[in-house]
């Protein structure tokens, strides 16, 4: 007696156009000889099949085609199925929870979520777990793909991609109070952040050390020698170690460095901040940071480079 088996819809769609899917695989393997058929096959069975089969029926065919192609490229590039933990979690944990929206625009949602996870996972100092949990909670409440993307951007910022702060706050009107709450826990703070990147509800506004950023290249950081700092405008800072130049963007939720090739320095954004050897001073307030070699102040942020440290000190100003 022949063994009974039932084809899932995902498998049926693959079998309807074997030439197409085999050709995609074969052509890609020409340029990526290490593309492993077994690894991709296992991904199809374990991850993609349940993902597609959980989608609304009318969207499965399109989802099969688009998600097969996207995931094939990712596996070939070693971003998926073992190559990049957060991208794996995106396909294993995040996308299945977003079924209604994946069904609506499979390619767009999968690509956007994958790339967002990739950025968060790749950027030093971010908090991937917080990103995923925020996104799963608030993303499930999104009723459109556009709304989901907005939630994702907000979650990425709140999880450490500080350079997206302005962009997210400019679009924050598109988020419901409930979504804001799911993302960060105190919706009213959003309006204050536009003006103060360090605002934290319940904290008294005063000069305070909020963060140490950067590290020696030998310890996995960026700098080969203690860096110097200058103000770059717009609450961002130039950081140089004699070899390379970066732009530092930092706020309450994180700090990101961006490689640059030329700089344009700006005068300090305020003149009431000063330094005395190892201290940053604002009026009567004094915060000790270590022997300062250079410093720069923005409107709400002071960054100090120290003579004997590869780590920059970041202070919040009221």
């Amino acid at each position: 007696m022949a063994a009974e088996f039932t084809l899932t819809t995902f498998a049926e769609f693959l079998q309807r156009r074997p030439e197409r899917y085999n050709t995609m695989f074969a052509l890609l393997r020409r340029s990526k000889p290490k593309l492993d058929g077994e690894r991709f096959g296992a991904f199809l069975v374990r991850v993609l099949q349940p993902l597609v089969d959980a989608l609304p029926e009318e969207s499965r065919e399109r989802a099969t085609d688009e998600l097969y192609e996207i995931s094939l490229g990712l596996v070939a590039g070693d971003f998926l199925a073992g190559g990049h933990p957060l991208v794996d979690r995106c396909w294993n944990q995040l996308l299945p929870g977003l079924s209604p929206l994946v069904g609506r625009e499979p390619g767009r949602v999968a690509v956007s979520m994958t790339n967002a996870c990739y950025h968060v996972g790749q950027t030093p100092g971010t908090r991937p777990d917080a990103f995923l949990s925020r996104l799963r909670a608030a993303g499930a409440e999104a009723s459109t793909v556009d709304e989901l993307l907005l939630v994702t951007q907000a979650a990425a910022w709140l999880s450490g991609l500080s350079h997206f702060r302005e962009g997210v706050l400019a679009r924050a009107g598109g988020l419901s109070s409930f979504q804001r709450e799911l993302l960060v826990g105190s919706p009213e703070e959003w309006d204050v952040w536009k003006d103060d990147p360090w605002y934290e509800k319940g904290l008294e506004p005063k000069l305070r050390l909020v963060r140490q950023v950067g590290d020696f290249a030998g310890f996995g950081g960026l700098f080969i020698r203690p860096p110097m700092v200058e103000y770059a405008g717009d609450e961002s800072f130039w950081v140089e170690d004699g070899e390379s130049l970066w732009l530092l963007v930092t706020d309450r939720f994180g700090a990101t460095f961006h490689r640059h090739f030329e700089k344009e320095s700006r005068p300090p954004a305020r003149d009431d901040v000063s330094v005395e050897k190892s201290h940053v001073c604002l009026g009567r307030e004094r915060v000790e940071v270590g022997e300062i070699s250079s410093w720069a102040s923005g409107r709400k942020t002071v960054v100090c480079a120290l003579r004997h440290s590869h780590r920059l000190r970041v202070l919040a100003c009221p």
Partner: protein
């Protein structure tokens, strides 16, 4: 960061951009990364010639198993090697070179002309044509359905469509009969497979569509949109089931040969068998050309400049072939065409041309001259070639590379010409691409030897005439007439008559007549 991992489309050959310091961050960048949506990556601002090149490279890299780089461009010295007793040369081109089997069909796609793909069975002729259909935005199924397969029983109805049977019975007037036109007529890529297997009568119906872009059944006309045509044949000499009518052959603008399969690519064949590979299934959507893009690309190609100095070389080359001294007594009739129409055997008048160096006279190598249609094809395709390479001006090398494919079936070799008897030249009777390229090289050498770039007496007279006749006094006209006569006198004393001189003489006769008529008018209007 790796991009476009799957269905890799070659990046536009970007000129490196200066690195800029950018301080603002677009939050949309969060969604850019290693994952790409199918079809994503088409840059709307990318020049269309770049898109055309991307399509070329995609086909060469993914769809064609063993590309040959026979359209050779150099960028500095190229290494050359010789092999065998016949000293077969192999050039390793220092510039970006191309596979004619992909390039020419693609250029034909861009200029919407008629391309014949010839070669033995199973060499990818139809597959290449199908890819062109997909590039025009049709699905694989649509393209396959639209292919007209030549076969001995093919009727005009099979090709064009049918009158509706009910109307045939009930209609009182011809115009009441509705026609069910075949859908391929409306497509922007038209594929006729094995056109030399179509019966002669049906070929005539095909000719009307191919040449005049409309179809006709029972007094009903169907206007077809501009289209790129691809015809395939196993034998380029019309030796299929039916002889191809000459008018149809003459309409073909460019001929491409499907070259042999390189046995070193067996593994590739094996992969295709084992893995069921079918590249036409997965043409990246960013390579698809919309109708608007096809129109725009054609306009942009038209705008490519052919510099006057190169036009002169083409004129000089073209003038080599039609002249045949034994073709007539009066100078206008001294042509191969006139001779051919007479039906007289060539040896009867062979003695008329005695005294000339038949080895050096390029016209002796061909049995015919160039038709106006052939010249127009050349002009269109050389512009397309320059455009494809991202140039706004045609180069001499563009002409040299394209000419053989446009004239492949237009310039017939004269097998008994002494040129082909020279050791090493025998093979040029067979290899038309090399022969035509050699003809052009020889013509250019002759052009340079005559110093025609700097010393072209006709160019001076032509420039004078192009200023117009308005306001020209009788004295000025007389002066110009004297110049023309003086030039003709000088030539008449110089010696023998060759093709380029023949055209120049006829041109001066034309100028002389225009001035004479103008002078007559001046006198009569006093």
């Amino acid at each position: 960061m790796p991009k476009k991992l799957y269905q890799h489309v070659s990046e536009a050959p970007t000129t490196p951009r200066p690195r800029t310091s950018r301080k603002t961050f677009d939050v949309a960048e969060l969604f850019q990364g290693p994952a790409h949506q199918p079809g994503e990556g088409g840059d709307q601002d990318l020049p269309l010639y770049e898109k055309l090149r991307q399509a070329y490279f995609w086909i060469v890299n993914h769809a064609i198993i063993s590309p040959h780089y026979d359209v050779e461009y150099t960028d500095g010295p190229s290494k050359t090697f010789e092999f065998g007793d016949l000293k077969t040369q192999v050039v390793l081109p220092s510039g970006q070179s191309y596979s004619s089997f992909v390039l020419l069909p693609l250029l034909n796609f861009a200029v919407r002309k008629r391309c014949l793909l010839v070669g033995g069975p199973g060499r990818g002729k139809t597959a290449t044509a199908v890819l062109m259909g997909i590039l025009a935005g049709y699905s694989l199924q649509q393209v396959r359905q639209a292919i007209q397969h030549g076969q001995p029983q093919m009727t005009i109805s099979d090709l064009l469509g049918n009158p509706l049977p009910a109307d045939l019975v009930n209609a009182e007037k011809m115009e009441d009969i509705r026609i069910s036109w075949r859908s391929w007529l409306s497509m922007r890529v038209k594929i006729i497979d094995e056109y030399n297997r179509i019966p002669t009568r049906t070929q005539s119906a095909l000719l009307t569509v191919l040449a005049d872009n409309y179809a006709e059944i029972l007094d009903h006309l169907y206007e077809c949109p501009p289209a790129a045509w691809y015809l395939t044949a196993n034998d380029d000499h019309g030796g299929g089931t039916y002889q191809v009518i000459e008018a149809l052959r003459d309409r073909i603008d460019v001929v491409v040969r499907a070259l042999h399969f390189n046995s070193r690519f067996y593994q590739e064949l094996l992969t295709r068998i084992e893995e069921g590979v079918s590249p036409e299934e997965v043409v990246p959507s960013q390579l698809i050309f919309s109708e608007e893009e096809m129109n725009r690309i054609y306009k942009e190609i038209q705008a490519v400049e052919l510099p006057p100095a190169l036009r002169r070389r083409l004129e000089y080359f073209s003038s080599q072939f039609e002249f045949f001294e034994g073709g007539g007594l009066q100078i206008e009739y001294k042509t191969k065409d006139n001779f051919k129409l007479s039906g007289v055997e060539k040896h009867v008048v062979a003695a008329v041309e005695s005294g000339k160096d038949r080895l050096k006279e390029l016209g002796v190598q061909t049995a015919n001259g160039l038709s106006v249609r052939a010249m127009m094809s050349v002009l269109t395709f050389v512009k397309a070639m320059a455009y494809f390479r991202g140039d706004q001006r045609v180069s001499l090398e563009d002409i040299r590379q394209i000419l053989p494919f446009c004239l492949h079936d237009k310039l017939a070799p004269e097998p008994e010409a002494p040129f082909f008897e020279v050791p090493g030249h025998e093979v040029l009777r067979v290899d038309r691409v090399s022969w035509i390229r050699r003809l052009f090289d020889l013509s250019c050498q002759d052009f340079e030897r005559m110093n025609r770039d700097r010393d072209d007496p006709v160019a001076h007279l032509e420039a004078e005439f192009s200023q117009g006749l308005d306001g020209l006094s009788e004295a000025a006209v007389n002066k110009r007439l004297v110049k023309i006569e003086g030039q003709l006198r000088q030539w008449s004393q110089a010696g023998k008559l060759y093709g380029p001189l023949y055209d120049d003489i006829l041109y001066l006769k034309y100028l002389h007549q225009r001035y004479t008529n103008y002078r007559e008018w001046l006198r009569s209007s006093r």
